[in-house]
Amino acid sequence: MADKIATRQSYGKALVELGAVHQDIVVLDADLSGSTMTKEFAKVYPERFFNAGIAEANMYGMAAGLAISGKTVFASTFAIFAAGRAFEIIRNSIGYTGANVKICATHAGLTVGEDGASHQAIEDLALMRTIPGMTVLNPADDVSARKLLKAAADMQGPVYVRLGRAAVPVIYEEETDVQIGKALTLREGKDYTIIATGILVSQAADAAEQLAGEGIDVRVIDMHTLKPMDEEAVVKAAMETKGIVTVEEHSVIGGLGAAVAQICCAKAPAKVSFVGIRDTFGESGKPDELLEKYGLTAAHIADAVRAMQ
């Protein structure tokens, strides 16, 4: 059994490492530093950490001002308050200005768990994708989260990074080359392709394993960068396999599935089916129970592939 680490823990660790390299990094939080793990940075670099209080709109406005003044700003809260509540501030003050702000949003998706629907952001990727110039990242595990965060710090401009609350399996070796905009292929396959993003990538890999036992050869792609998306990987999957199943812990409206379908429609027509949250809100429950109830487990993904036959 692989180690399990929540990507927000990876974030806390990465920030401390990045803080030593980038003297211009400033970190903001909105009274959730113990949950988003920015407290780790605050402990080591208290002079470069600012709590904005429970005021997400102003936090992202201040982040813009700091970034425009030359800082590399990491500003964190839960995804629902970042992408949701502060959407228009992020759009106008960070997106429109191209400010160098990394919006690192934790507690995304249903796996927030017991807090329930009010705290489960299932539309954040859709919202952030629509902002011109916004890079949108959704790492699958600890290794890719840390590597993508480093890449985000090294690039200029706004980046949205989706991070999870629940511990998820570590699927990559420390040596794995992870680059923004370049999808990772976990497994080659010639029959069908599963394109997954975020914490469900490991479920997708498990589904492919089950299907291999049935003689169905499935390619598994980790689309950690929602924008700019690796179009080449999508087009290849569309042309080389008989169908694509997209997998995301997000609404099927406007997220990974919609982006993949858009590429297929324009460049390589293919059969695409969508594993994600239907047009509904979540509810309280344990992360595993929620993934089961809302159809987001390896078994559900395998069923979606079988249904393509």
Binding site: V26, E47, R48, F50, A52, G53, A55, A57, N58, Y60, G61, M62, A63, A64, G65, L66, A67, I68, S69, G70, K71, E88, I89, N92, S93, Y96, T97, G98
Partner: protein, 272 residues
């Protein structure tokens, strides 16, 4: 610049505002004219800025949080040498650097893209924080409308500026009493403004926003004040300087026709 020169500069800026809005056929003259005297003093006396060295790392910064008053900002920047005055007539036209609301990526000299109310203030707080982190003595100024105070983010930003003791930040509230739908007190009461900022821990200075001496004096006081941010609550008149625009909500976001523009220019001592 002395008082007389500043008054002459303010008159020129008011003429630019009328020209810009007239040629664009749209825009916001009322709140531009109310802010003109304060902006003139900021750009031609108070702030350390240079139109020929606009990216000087030690410059003071001004954020027009009430971004719809872009005509007065553009007029000040043009007069200060940031871009040619002839370009003012391109305001709001396709491919112009002079967007309807200020865009920092389109025009050098605009320190922050604004237009969505309250956000410029919030960014100014971040800029003041950055100056302090970098050990800079330069200052950050932000101008807000009084209707803008209805935005929740304004009070989030006020709390933060006070919490972090940003005495390098000076906010000016252009208190002309009017917003698009009418008087503030009828739309959504914002009074008492001074008491609200005092309660948030700010150094509050009140003044007549059309009295050059008072503006000079209050800005000097703000510079001397240490420990907390300063807000200047400036009593102004919307449409100031153009008789038929003064204190009229209808001139918040409307361009004059040719006849009206000519009359306005005559009152301001210029020609269209």
């Amino acid at each position: 610049m002395d008082k007389k020169a500043l008054q002459e500069k303010a008159a020129l800026i008011r003429q630019h505002i009328i020209r810009e809005v007239y040629h664009a056929g749209s825009g916001h003259p009322g709140g531009s004219l109310s802010a003109t005297d304060i902006m003139t003093v900021l750009y031609f006396n108070e702030m350390n800025i240079d139109g020929h060295n606009p990216l000087d790392p030690n410059r003071d910064k001004f954020v027009l949080s009430k971004g719809h008053a872009s005509p007065v900002l553009y007029a000040c920047l043009a007069e200060a040498g940031f871009f040619p005055k002839e370009d003012l007539v391109t305001f709001r036209k396709l491919d112009s650097c002079l967007q309807g609301h200020p865009s920092m990526l389109k025009l050098c000299g605009v320190e922050m893209s604004t237009g969505s109310l309250g956000q410029g203030f919030s960014a100014a707080v971040g800029m003041a924080l950055a100056n302090r982190l970098d050990g800079k003595t330069s200052r950050v100024y932000a101008m807000l409308g009084d209707g803008e105070l209805q935005e929740g983010i304004v009070w989030e930003a006020s709390m933060a500026a006070s919490h972090y003791g940003l005495d390098n930040l000076c906010v000016i509230v252009d208190h002309n009493g009017l917003q698009i739908d009418g008087w503030n007190c009828d739309v959504m009461g914002v009074m008492p403004i001074a008491e609200k900022f005092r309660a948030f821990g700010w150094n509050v200075l009140e003044l007549d926003g059309h009295d050059i001496d008072a503006i000079l004096a209050r800005l000097a006081e703000a510079r001397q004040h240490k420990g907390t941010p300063t807000v200047l609550v400036a009593e102004t008149h919307k449409g100031k300087g153009v008789s038929f625009m003064e204190d009229q909500a209808g001139w918040h976001g409307k361009a004059p026709n040719r006849e009206q523009a000519e009359q306005a220019m005559a009152e301001l001592g210029g020609v269209l």
